[in-house]
């Protein structure tokens, strides 16, 4: 018996051109809570999926309990005592708790015996780890926190000694999260090993014994939690970056163009995604929203753009109300001077199977300029597209090419050209440079600054902190659906990092 639960040696994994994990080494000691922290896309989830047998590593060894294992599928992981609580619960919603716990671990073809056995075992687990949940409750009727508890019970029922939790608090309210941490402590005390994947520093500091930091596919450091600080971790997470420089002059803010008051958005399950958010954006300024992905920025953008219904609050565009809680019509908002570059250009901003020139009018297709009699004026559409192709240097310069055949950067330019060339008063932009090549990034940033200088009000959402800092005149930080702070563009990176991680101020971090 070794006192090391899991050891990873030289794990390497690529998806096509994306090098998700680079030569990862990791040691997780038995009976500890080991945090893995990193920004979105740092490679945490990939690493854990390899450990759980979803993917196979290209290179490297996995040692469980000192023995090298090949984990070819989740079955093998389960057999080696590894359990996983997925970020999106893997539960059958119309099944009972008991049925979900048993699924895949039934020990007889006829359920009667399994059920009574499972019931007893579940009772025992509940008692042992203080995980009360009614075994006959239907999953979809349970609150999210309890559903997660079922996921944990599922793993324990399969005799997991090592429990991986992937961003477990993303869907939880703070009291629920606290309860989860108490459960994790309890599990640790019973001798279980826990790997906690998160991007929230507060959680790391609160519950872990050791913490490993990942950045851009690499494991950059492992620290004992009591020997490190939030500041150090934040810096390790972000790294010393080459500061993005964008030439820009002083902002000359004018009138308020977009005014958001007490905006609240709940998702289909009633979870609050945007919580009482208020801000103004003036003509000629860029307001950036910083935050780790999944803290309500996407929902905020969509609510303002009229493609997601808000549950409360008001939005004013150019001084007149937008019916955000009712049926705001994106087409109408466009005519009122709102342009929207959506975060997801593949599914929202573009129709990939369309010709370039067809995408160049998406959302503006009812404009009379593209109409000739009862028909679309194809010649006008193509001429228009060609003009934009030239101005935005979109390559290849072929308006008839299927959009799917353009590179990410050029696709993004198609969207930007469409939205910017409309001379809008307010431009809202989500992830302007996600999946875009370096050359195009510079171009896109320049164009955004130009829009500001032309007196547009710009709302920018990005998970790239550098981008936010380089472009914004003011920065709002979102965490858990709320705006937790406002900073100027010269704000300290560490300070922003703390805000993004849900630490309200340095005083609290120091505690």
């Amino acid at each position: 018996m070794s006192d090391i639960a899991i050891e990873l040696r030289g794990i390497d994994k690529s998806f096509g051109p994306v090098h998700a994990n680079k030569n990862i080494n990791l040691v997780v000691k038995k009976g500890t809570i080991h945090g893995i922290i990193g920004e979105n896309g740092a490679g945490k989830s990939t690493l854990m999926s390899i450990l759980y047998g979803f993917y196979q590593a290209d290179r490297g060894d996995i040692l469980v309990d000192g023995k090298v294992l090949t984990i070819k599928d989740p079955n093998a992981a389960i057999a080696s005592g590894i359990g996983m609580v997925h970020q999106h619960f893997m539960l059958v919603e119309n099944f009972t708790v008991l049925e979900n716990v048993m699924l895949g671990a039934e020990d007889s073809p006829v359920l009667n015996a399994s059920i009574s056995k499972a019931r007893i075992e579940l009772k025992r687990l509940e008692k042992e780890y203080a995980l009360e949940v009614n075994p006959d409750a239907i999953i979809e009727e349970l609150p999210v926190g309890l559903q997660q508890r079922v996921e944990i019970l599922k793993a324990l029922y399969r005799k997991a000694d090592i429990l991986i939790l992937d961003e477990p608090t993303g869907v939880l309210t703070p009291p629920e999260a606290d309860h989860l941490f108490r459960i994790l402590e309890q599990l640790k005390n019973e001798g279980k090993t826990i790997i906690l994947i998160t991007h929230k520093l507060r959680e790391i500091m609160a519950v872990t014994d050791e913490v490993s930091v990942m950045r851009r596919g690499e494991m950059v450091a492992t620290r004992a939690t009591d020997k490190t600080s939030v500041e150090e971790l934040a810096e390790l997470m972000v790294g010393r970056r080459v500061l993005l420089r964008v030439e820009k002059g002083e902002a000359r803010p004018g009138d308020v163009k977009l005014s958001v008051r007490n905006l609240t958005v709940r998702d289909g399950r009633g979870v609050t995604m945007v919580d009482d958010v208020s801000f103004d954006i003036r003509a000629g300024e860029i307001v950036g929203i910083a935050g780790v992905a999944g803290n309500g920025q996407s929902e905020l953008l969509e609510a303002i753009a009229g493609i997601r219904r808000a549950t409360g609050g008001t939005v004013e565009l150019n001084g007149s109300t937008v019916d955000v809680t009712g049926l705001a019509d994106p087409a109408e908002l466009r005519t009122r001077g709102l342009a929207h570059v959506p975060e997801d250009r593949h599914h929202v901003g573009l129709v990939l199977k369309f010709e370039e020139s067809e995408n160049a009018i998406l959302g503006y297709h009812r404009d009379p300029a593209y109409k000739k009699g009862a028909l679309l004026d194809i010649a006008a559409m193509r001429a228009d597209a060609e003009e934009k192709i030239a101005r935005y240097d979109i390559r290849p310069p072929n308006p008839r090419l299927k959009t799917a055949n353009f590179s990410g950067g050029n696709q993004q330019k198609i969207v930007l050209a469409r939205e910017m060339e409309r001379n809008p008063d307010v431009l809202i932009i989500g992830q302007p440079t996600r999946g875009v090549d370096v050359g195009a990034i510079e171009f896109i940033h320049k164009r955004i600054i130009e829009m500001r200088d032309q007196g547009k009000a710009v709302l920018l959402v990005s998970v790239e902190l550098d981008e936010i800092r380089a472009l914004s005149d003011r920065i709002l930080v979102m965490f858990a659906g709320r705006v937790v702070g406002e900073r100027t563009s010269d704000a300290d990176e560490g300070d922003l990092g703390l805000l993004m991680a849900g630490v309200e101020n340095r005083m609290e971090a120091a505690q």
Binding site: D329, H365, R366, Y370
Partner: protein, 377 residues
């Protein structure tokens, strides 16, 4: 390469893959012919000869093709908006009411060129009405359009039996059909059209509704690729989330697309009712609504593909009759098998050969680039 679904040249995508699928469907059909102890080659000979061997045969082939152009277009229009209209059979059937009512009303007092436009409107209106309900139910009540349109096929069938046995049947007649229309309810034949090619149409009911079908095909092309409505339909069909982003109202598009689809199906009724039988009979649709699915799949939902695909099925229907005549063991139901196989291979299994074809293209491309690189060096 790593992704065989990625890029194939247009001619392979729209020509080669459908062709391969079609060939496989026919090969399997050939197996069935073998199974009943006949020669597939002989059957193929009779099929082609029966469809094109004489002016009259060609007339019949095109008569059937007319019907299938309408139903094929109908399925295609709906599919561009992301809807699977499997209810063409019922919509065409109900569309017949519109044709019959106009003809019964005017055939004795008006010439055909007055009756025909009204009958077009009548057929389209009734077909659209029968498609409106499933469309509306999907848009507003969330019921699945495939299931509802299937149910509406059966409801239409019962409704038509009722109407033809109780309401539209002339007094004293036993047959479940309307009275025979007089001159105003009879469409002129297109004998002159085949006459240009020196062909004699004989008894074939090839009539002017063929021209209407071609017009409808052109109209559909305009609608889908040249109008804002068609643009919105395509956005919705490809990406509902992009449609929401663009401010396209999906409920409205769903209902309109279904009504256009139903209207096209309804217009199919003109061909048999005013063009051949000069009365409305039970079961005059004869599965054309379902053939439309095969035609749309074969034709890749593009009018330029649908017309040849419809002619192909017209050929099967006409040539199939000839096979049945020459080779008594092979009845006209052979067509139904081929139709099913085409739907299977061009539809549900459309991607079966794509990886292989993709690999062939990839290896040809890489060897070509390798050889050109070698030349360069």
């Amino acid at each position: 390469m790593s992704n065989p679904y990625a890029k194939l040249p247009g001619w392979a995508e729209y020509g080669l893959i459908p062709l391969v699928n079609l060939v496989v469907a026919f090969l399997v059909a050939g197996l069935v012919v073998l199974l009943v102890g006949e020669s597939p080659l002989e059957a193929a000979y009779h099929l082609i000869n029966g469809a094109f061997g004489r002016g009259e045969y060609i007339g019949f082939t095109l008569y059937y093709a007319t019907t299938f152009i309408f139903t094929g277009l109908a399925v295609a229009v709906a599919s561009h908006a992301g809807l699977f209209n499997i209810g063409g059979e019922g919509q065409a059937y109900v569309g017949g009411i519109g044709v019959a009512l106009v003809c019964l009303w005017l055939d004795r007092i008006m010439p055909w060129y007055v009756v025909f436009p009204l009958a077009i409107l009548g057929s389209a209106a009734f077909g659209a009405l029968w498609a409106f309900l499933p469309g509306w139910l999907q848009a507003k009540r969330g019921s699945h359009i495939v299931i509802t349109t299937i149910m509406f096929n059966f409801i239409a069938s019962s409704l038509m039996v009722y109407l033809l046995t109780r309401v539209l049947k002339p007094l004293g007649s036993m047959a479940p059909q309307t009275r025979t229309f007089e001159a105003g309810g009879q469409l002129p034949k297109l004998d002159w059209l085949l006459g240009i090619f020196g062909l004699d149409i004989g008894n074939a009911p090839f009539n002017i509704s063929f021209l209407l079908a071609l017009l409808a095909a052109f109209g559909c092309w305009l609608l889908i690729w040249r109008t804002r409505l068609g643009y919105e339909m395509r956005v919705m069909g490809h990406s509902p989330s992009a449609a929401r982003y663009a401010g396209i109202k999906d409920a409205r598009i769903t209902v309109i697309a279904m009504m256009i689809s139903g209207g096209l199906c309804g217009m199919m009724a003109l061909n048999p009712i005013m063009g051949e039988q000069f009365r409305m009979q039970l079961d005059f649709v004869q599965g054309a609504g379902f053939v439309g699915i095969a035609v749309a799949l074969m034709g890749r939902s593009h009018p330029a593909g649908i017309i040849p695909a419809a002619i192909l099925f017209g050929m099967l229907y006409q040539g199939g009759a000839e096979i049945a005549f020459e080779m008594p063991t092979i009845s006209r139901d052979m067509i139904v098998i081929i139709q099913g196989l085409v739907i299977l291979f061009a539809g549900a299994l459309e991607n079966m050969f794509r990886p292989a074809i993709g690999r062939i293209f990839a290896s040809v491309a890489s060897s070509r680039s390798a050889s050109s690189a070698a030349k360069g060096a």
